[in-house]
Subunit: 281 residues, 2 copies
């Protein structure tokens, strides 16, 4: 029997450290890599990044929008990238931030989390604006197939504060409610002592007090965008996440990808070493 | 110069009434239509629905998730459906509920709202969990190309209440904040007296008082899912939306699609007549 998604991530973080390489074929990066700004360029970009990441980090995170902008040809490129990444033993988080209700949400979960589907990934980022409960079909499907979900909980961008820090009937912030409800789902579905497969997206530069969330015993992985170009450093991982650091997947994109295709391997190695030093420090 | 998206919707609602036909190639509907549960089936389903809708209603709304579950082949099918619908003079709202920040959000807007892009639609539904401000790049791109956005404001599903009715620093609900901020964007971008191109998604069965939103002078179209099988009737349109009824796009899917390919035209005609009667009544 294959391990749950949560336990597979836990093992990957122990073996390879927290760095997750984003796969973001942004127009400007395609240009600086000498690739065409089309689906073929996005495919090459993704496959080269997978090659460089394989054996160096445990986790990669393709950003779906940068493939979707080329329509079906872009998604075909993404299918090749997802498949190559999984074949290379990388854990693949499809960053698509999908969110809907009922059978519509189920269809998104099917698309990304069904074994054998063209867009099969190991996990999907999801958006809880329609309520965490609206994602229950996706939780069930993920659980059934040993896949994972990362629910947006608190993001670092200032525009998000009004909504995410609003106070619900529970007296908690929207973000705190999301953490609580997702944690409860993990408790329902996972054996005691194991990590659950329903993770959180928590921005690396979020002010926890402002966000109304306290450090919690992380029952599942925390995907933390905002490392690298966006400002958070390897040392920040421990400073900001404290006792929760071991659960953090530190996602970096531009800080690594801007090294270009020839500098990519060195950029990843250097960054992995920095996280490792920060961990010992 | 082509009219703004908001003004094109206003003209379509006057000419054709409020009914918007959903294009939802759900697995069970493909089966009852005698189609295969694959991208080819979804394509046939979509094209037949477009044929039936053309000349009968002004607006169609393909549900992206039901195409996305077939991966790139599903999106290729959707591209054909979008293109056929636009060629038939229908206004096409891609119901994808995308939401992200910065250049990632821009890439989604590019994918769906750029003239000549494979997935070109007339408007896109978007998710404001990361803040309405995080969508500003999409607002700008839509404005530039005379396209539209529909921002999720209040949905009817009970799981959404905790989040959408939370109270922000403004003292308003999350939903009321969204309505206010999107209305302000319309005021910035649209000439006085014209409808703006940044619409709202407001569930047809929402209790407005509970949602903390008051009737407002609709400066832009309101996409209202929840008519038909989900419970709201043509008479409810006026009862629930009152002075705002003229701005409502009443979206129905299963109530029409379950008529099957041979019953589709009659089902649409009957439903259009009911909305028209309710309007006179």
């Amino acid at each position: 029997m294959s391990a749950s998604f949560g336990e597979r991530v836990r093992a990957a973080l122990v073996a390879r450290g927290p760095l997750c390489v984003g796969i973001d074929p942004h127009s400007s990066l395609l240009g600086s890599w000498g690739l065409t700004d089309d689906a073929r360029g996005a495919r090459d970009f993704g496959l080269r990044t997978v090659d460089a990441a394989a054996g160096r980090v445990g986790i990669v995170k393709p950003q779906v929008s940068f493939f979707e902008r080329f329509g079906s040809a872009g998604l075909a490129a993404l299918e090749d990238v997802l498949s190559a990444a999984r074949a290379a033993g990388l854990i693949v988080i499809a960053d698509a931030k999908r969110g809907d209700i009922g059978s519509t949400m189920d269809a998104y979960a099917e698309a990304w989390l069904t074994p054998g589907s063209p867009l099969e990934a190991d996990a999907l980022t999801v958006n809880p604006f329609l309520g965490v409960g609206a994602l229950d079909g996706a939780f069930a499907l993920a659980q059934q197939h040993d896949k994972g979900l990362f629910v947006l909980a608190t993001t670092s961008n200032p525009e998000a504060e009004g909504l995410q820090r609003a106070i619900s009937e529970t007296g908690r912030t929207v973000s705190a409610d999301i953490v609580a409800v997702v944690s409860a789902r993990n408790a329902e579905h996972s054996p005691t002592g194991e990590w659950g497969s329903f993770g959180f997206v928590i921005g690396a530069t979020v002010d926890w007090a402002d966000a109304g969330i306290a450090a919690f015993a992380p029952s599942a992985p925390i995907l933390a965008p905002g490392f690298g170009t966006q400002g958070a450093t390897p040392a920040d991982l421990h400073r900001r996440f404290g006792s929760m650091s071991d659960a953090v997947i530190a996602s970096e994109s531009r800080s690594i990808l801007s090294a270009g295709p020839t500098g990519l391997v060195n950029a990843i190695d250097a960054r992995v070493a920095q996280y490792s030093e920060a961990d010992r420090g």
